[in-house]
């Protein structure tokens, strides 16, 4: 049973409320992007929450203080109850964001979602041209559909964010990508260089750009910013740099369990969408209230504060800034999630990052050599895993 009420006396004083709720409605998706952040063994998890269970999650999250809500996946459009959940979110006072590939979207749905109170639609693209886009997405019709849906989103009056995941196979396209976004009248463009979790970690060698590629891309983006400023255009560019080329780790999720709460398709509540790869037990909203999970579950309290930190993090004067970096990255690269994030040059495992950078300078793998995210490949992972 899920408890809908919130008992404010039950709140630990030093833990803030979850301000962002990410509802991963499903792992089902028509695309096969080889950098997907979903778990490798997603195909083993078929039990999605029901509409009523999601409504309860939304109510509980809002009562606790969540204001930003993401509908994500997989592809959230495969859920037939999406319009119902959007209406509930609006009624509760969330600002709701639909994170979609655009596949399965229609002009009628774009308008129906707006009428139900959806605030924003983010459409993801894989490249600036149909050939590369469709090769990365593993779908022959994806690009045309995305173009049509971006136009429909704009025509319906939504603010439009276009998202491109950047890797070594499309990083040379920056100017073309931004030209495309400008033609589509995007309000924001997210150029998100690949983060190596889930399928992207599996395919890292085939995805990671070299430093030279990265610097060329960043210069192109900066030139485009100047061009937009000169033209007086408001399109905002967000270039997310890859932490593998940093010397200090990112402040992952702004600190474990500090403001982000993800609920996975099967109801598992997580401090970030990648955390289920960690050897930590996370509670499920089918069995516990969101309030009790956020404030009291061992999973959410595991890496709160700095009591868990080993050296050199424990005595580091920057620990309040980056919280020791990303636990998933520490786990993936060192086998122990307690370790400092190897991105940090003070980490004893920083050589793993240096090795990845060297590999990126000499990588030759083509797109066809990557492991695509689909049910067939996912089953192989959970059989051998």
């Amino acid at each position: 049973m899920m408890a809908a009420g919130v008992d404010s006396s039950d709140q630990a004083p030093d833990i803030g409320p979850p301000l962002w709720l990410l509802a991963e409605l499903t792992y089902r998706c028509p695309l096969q992007c080889p950098y997907c952040s979903n778990p490798l063994d997603y195909a083993s998890q078929d039990q999605e929450l029901t509409t009523e269970q999601w409504v309860s999650v939304l109510r509980q999250g809002r009562a606790m203080g969540a204001a930003q809500l993401g509908f994500s996946g997989g592809e959230p459009l495969v859920r037939q109850d999406l319009a119902e959940l959007i209406a509930e979110a609006r009624h509760l006072g969330y600002y709701s964001n639909l994170i979609t590939s655009g596949l399965g979207l229609t002009e009628a749905k774009v308008n129906a979602f707006r009428d139900a109170g959806l605030d924003h639609i983010q459409v993801s693209f894989q490249a600036s041209d149909p050939e590369l886009n469709n090769a990365v997405a593993g779908s022959r019709k994806a690009f045309e559909q995305k173009l049509a849906m971006a136009r429909a989103v704009k025509a319906a009056g939504y603010p439009m964010v276009l998202n491109f995941v950047i890797h070594r196979h499309n990083i040379h396209q920056m100017t073309d990508i931004l030209d495309l976004c400008r033609r589509l009248e995007a309000d924001y463009v997210e150029l998100a260089t690949c983060q190596y979790y889930g399928w992207a970690f599996q395919n890292r060698e085939g995805l990671m750009p070299s430093r030279t590629q990265l610097e060329t891309a960043e210069a192109a983006v900066n030139r485009y910013r100047d061009l937009l400023a000169d033209a007086g255009e408001a399109m905002k560019l967000i270039f997310v740099t890859p932490d593998y080329y940093e010397e200090r780790p990112k402040a992952c999720m702004n600190g474990w369990g500090s403001m982000f709460l993800t609920v996975a398709p099967d109801g598992t509540a997580l401090p970030c969408h990648s955390a289920r790869l960690l050897p930590i037990e996370f509670a499920n909203v089918r069995e516990q209230s969101l309030q009790s999970i956020w404030y009291h579950s061992p999973g959410f309290n595991h890496y709160r504060g700095d009591g868990w930190m080993p050296e050199p993090c424990r005595s580091c004067d920057e620990k309040g800034k980056d919280f020791g970096g990303c636990r998933c990255q520490a786990y993936l690269l060192t086998g122990n999630a307690d370790n400092p994030d190897p991105v940090c040059s003070k980490s004893p495992s920083h050589d793993r990052i240096l090795a990845a950078r060297r590999a990126a300078d000499h990588a030759t793998a083509g797109l066809e050599e990557l492991t695509y995210r689909n049910r067939h490949n996912s089953r192989l992972f959970y059989r051998t895993g």
Binding site: P17, L19, A67, G93, Y95, Q122, Y158
Partner: protein, 88 residues
């Protein structure tokens, strides 16, 4: 500027958040927690009132604060630079 009418940009929403005990501005995948005076100013921005009317209403609400024209125009200019609002 006093005759101009400020309006939130499409996609921005302004609301009171009890959990944060603050007004916030929400936009695609983002949220700004506003301090008391920013919240009070944006609460008067409805797409119809001009800056002069907004200043007059705030001065009525906070009579002890004296003239507010400078603070209000500074804030609105900054809000325009941040792309939160349009001035027309």
């Amino acid at each position: 500027m006093m005759a101009q009418v400020p309006q939130l940009r499409p996609g921005f929403r302004f609301q009171w958040e009890p959990a944060q005990q603050a007004h916030v501005l929400l936009y695609p995948e983002g949220m700004v927690k506003l301090n008391g005076s920013a919240g009070a100013i944006l609460a008067e921005v409805d797409g119809e009132r001009c800056v002069r009317d907004i200043v007059a209403r705030l001065e009525q609400q906070f009579p002890q604060a004296g003239s507010l024209a400078g603070d209000v125009t500074d804030f609105l200019r900054d809000a325009e630079r941040q792309h939160w609002i349009r001035l027309s």
